[in-house]
Symmetry: D2
Subunit: 320 residues, 4 copies
């Protein structure tokens, strides 16, 4: 293993820079060269390379976003795109590629890795936490903390005005973020895409709360549950209680990573280089049973990560 490439792909996540730093410095420490590819897969296809060394990743551990930039790049899903990427890796003699991103990025890495010698190692970094094989992804903890900071502020207004609030958090398909945010802000109700709900039941809970003297409530909803605007109107109409909607939006993605996101980025980045040093590819770095390990890339992208229903149940009891 002489030369390692790094690409950040898909949606950005806080801690991606800390992971770039870790991969680069551990590789440099072990005498390897490091090349960064810019703008996600587009950088491999168009040859946007940036040599990285210990100094060029200085001062980025606490920065949100990714210094390598990222895009969503459908081109990598074509055989032509992959051929160009393969040629680029060959040209720069990249023995191992560290792919920092989420599920979609890993799918592309698997397809690309099938036909070439460059070893692929995925480093899970997405605020959605939806990568099978790891209990946690880089950036998830930061996104949760950012979201609860905003919800704590909204709670001030909810209580002052004695209103219902629906707070929509990110998560088009999955409810990991919504369920953790909901549990830790003490939300009265949590709605996730994985668990169908009946509006009538919501109205019942809200009315039951009101009859106990609770005049305000926070409903945390993943964006994937449907039209939250309509839901707010329906609640207001059916319960007679003022209901507001707040969509947290992109602020959840950015910001300086929490210690935990930086820690995970450092450990995952280190593990990725260790795997490549041992000539192991087709893997992702993972946190399982409290330890940093590796897991099959193939199996990760093939399997849907289950949402733990116990957290929703706990949140429900604790909100009573």
């Amino acid at each position: 293993m002489k030369t390692i490439g790094i690409v950040t792909s898909g949606g950005d996540a806080p801690g991606m820079n800390a992971a770039i730093r870790a991969v680069t410095r551990i590789a440099a420490y072990n005498g390897m060269s490091v090349i960064g590819f810019e703008r996600g897969w587009e950088g491999l296809i168009s040859g946007l390379v940036r040599p990285l060394n210990a100094r060029s990743v200085s001062g980025i551990i606490n920065m949100g976003g990714t210094i390598l930039h990222t895009t969503r790049c459908p081109h990598i899903q074509t055989s032509e795109g992959r051929a160009k990427a393969a040629a680029c890796l060959a040209k720069h003699k990249v023995d191992g590629l560290v792919v920092i991103g989420g599920d979609g990025s890993f799918r592309a890495a698997r397809a690309l890795g099938e036909k070439i010698d460059t070893l692929m190692v995925g480093v899970p970094a997405t605020i959605d936490n939806d990568v099978y094989g790891t209990d946690e992804t880089i950036g998830f903890d930061t996104a949760v903390d950012t979201a609860i900071g905003m919800v704590d502020k909204i709670r001030d207004t909810a209580i002052s005005h004695e209103r219902m609030f629906i707070v929509e958090v990110m998560g088009r398909k999955r409810g990991f973020l919504a369920s953790m945010v909901g549990l830790t802000v003490g939300a009265e109700i949590i709605l996730v895409p994985e668990v169908p709900f009946k509006e009538q039941r919501l109205f019942d809970i809200i009315r039951a709360n009101e009859s106990m003297g609770k005049r305000s409530a926070i409903i945390i909803a993943a964006e994937g549950i449907g039209d939250t605007r309509k839901l707010a109107l329906d609640i207001e109409e059916n319960t007679g209680l003022e209901t507001r909607l707040s969509v947290l939006g992109y602020a959840q993605r950015g910001g300086s990573p929490t210690a935990r996101s930086r820690y995970l980025a450092s450990e995952f980045g280190s593990k990725a280089v260790e795997l490549l040093s041992d000539d192991k590819g087709g893997l992702i770095t993972t946190l399982r049973e409290g330890r940093v390990m590796s897991f099959s890339l193939e199996e990760s992208v093939r399997t849907e990560k289950p949402l733990d229903p116990a957290i929703l149940k706990l949140a429900e009891i604790l909100a009573t």
Copy 2:
């Protein structure tokens, strides 16, 4: 002046609690009694009173929202509502009423004050900063800081993805918040209700930026400028650049007040009691020429506060 009443009305603003604390403690220090009315004007109409003393406002200086709760109460705009409120003030022998809120609250206070002996003093507290006669309102500084904290995070994502972002901040009618946020995050473009704009000009600026190598930009838009969702689509269509919308929403209203909001609340609260002690009413507390003073309530509600165009001009030059 023996008994002072306090009401918080309209949208909540960070620092309202610090103002309640200041009014209560200064009044108590001067030997007066203090009565809080709950849920804004509704509290005066329905007689929801809570006696306040130095101890009951302990530990609230750093809390967002208002412990007295608030509502928007159309009832106070009727003569019947005002009659009930007047009766309530008479019943509790309230000599002076401190109204903590914004423009709408002061309008109600003026109307109510016309026919009764209770003196009215307004304490400007609104994140919109749209009260004529004062350079700043309680809560404005906090809302700006909260908003720039979120925009700084969004900037991480904007740069990483090399995207345009429209960030919608509060302000249905006025652009005070938008212009200050825009200036202090270094927004490329600021849109406020007071200044009409042509979409074509936006496209030109964005393309000029792009030709200089700026691949991402932040557009700060007050909610009152129109349909920001449509604007994002139009920009994407006309410039070919990915454009996202983020609506900051209610998180801008809450949270622990900044030092400046707490300071202003303490000074305004103190001034309000001083005015009432001197048997002066029909006034609001103000910050003008860097000093805490008073100003005619009548003139304040009758006049629209102008937006300083110099800030927009400065922001435009600084964003080049």
Copy 3:
């Protein structure tokens, strides 16, 4: 199990309130009564009790400190103190006591539990993370995040002035906090009580950094490593580089808990009630292998938790 008691003891930690809330609500959900003892063990000795129910723990999940207050209470270490505490538990018919605190609190719980029927369950909550049997304690994550927020600010000044900074973090005996803070701020050097160091080696590292053009550095030191004031002077004298000391102090203990601290508090609180419901005592709740479990109280207090040297090694490589 009809009545559960709760006591928070030792140094306060962010998330204690979230744990009180969880124990109370889970217990109430299961039909049990809950009694809070105030001011740590003193509350059991002096009979300072406060009945708790689902409503009385409302709105505290995001509050730092502990609503039950806490003290360091040497009296509980005497047989007389324990006798009084036992009598108090008997008087209030407390079947199970949840002790929220650290190592010292658990030691007292074990001693107290030996002679009485009340079952003891410990919930680890301390920013020091020094409880054997659990990978993490409530409050640790928050303290790390608070500390790195402060160090990130100090880094601004360190770089602007091109200075060395020693930042002393809490930890009289153990280096868990220092090592995690050091890793996640990218500290050039980390000093912990568990690993003896020679000043000469520090000087060498600092000079080596300087020769590579690094004119500023952050040294994270646990308070237990000795006289940091002297160390700063020694570094300045031996390297000729301006060196400043910053002691982070008590701000590390307080503040709104992070999502992770709230999560852990919710899970541990729930687990504690589950154990007591099953008539199990003499246990602590733990996070091990990524799961919430229980562990012998006896073994926990008898064993010193080892510091993982791999984190220090990783931090050292990543700081190069």
Copy 4:
């Protein structure tokens, strides 16, 4: 006015970068060249120059510290040092020099400006707020907000443990920071260098508070008031109440500037260029009577800024 120089000098303050950005962009907008001098006055003496343009100050508005670095440089106080600095300004044809810093920096600017043609304009930037002629300096608001954030956390611990806390904030000679922090955290006692105090009076206040049931208190002390460590011991000994000391330290200096610090930096930077464009020197930019203006540099450095005793009086009443 063709070429403007910028130097940041003395202790760093949040917002210095925003000021560098404003000066550079306003100057560039008006067709001038800009040169930055690095490491404060040392840069003028040793010729450490860095050309600045609109692009080189991109992305710094929200960064703490100063990209130009700063030092305390006694050399500029010698005639030899000033001769070298004058020669450097002449060599680079600097018509106007913007000095971003505090009192000491302005003193040096005045001395340097006496013998040369380069016009001097001071931009007040110091967390101490101790510059005569301006109501506020860049960085002051941020330092106050950072400090109150830390004190709010310490308050959690103070209340939980029912303890006294002395919190030492920056301010070797002046109490502007301490008095504003004290007022806005609701400190029970504020100690500043400008107002001598008797320990006995402190003990009396603390005992009076205790007799009213207040078991915890926050004392905000400027570092210039003397030995806070001894004071803590004296209070503990004389009142019998546990008393802790927390020195906030260098974290007060760094961090992303608040909106207000960024606003002031933008306005001051703009004003500085405007003054130089009008061939005006020997001035500082100021905020007076709520407006951005200029003020005599000579008079500013010759006069000590008075501390407003009304703030301390207000804080005292509000803390009862």
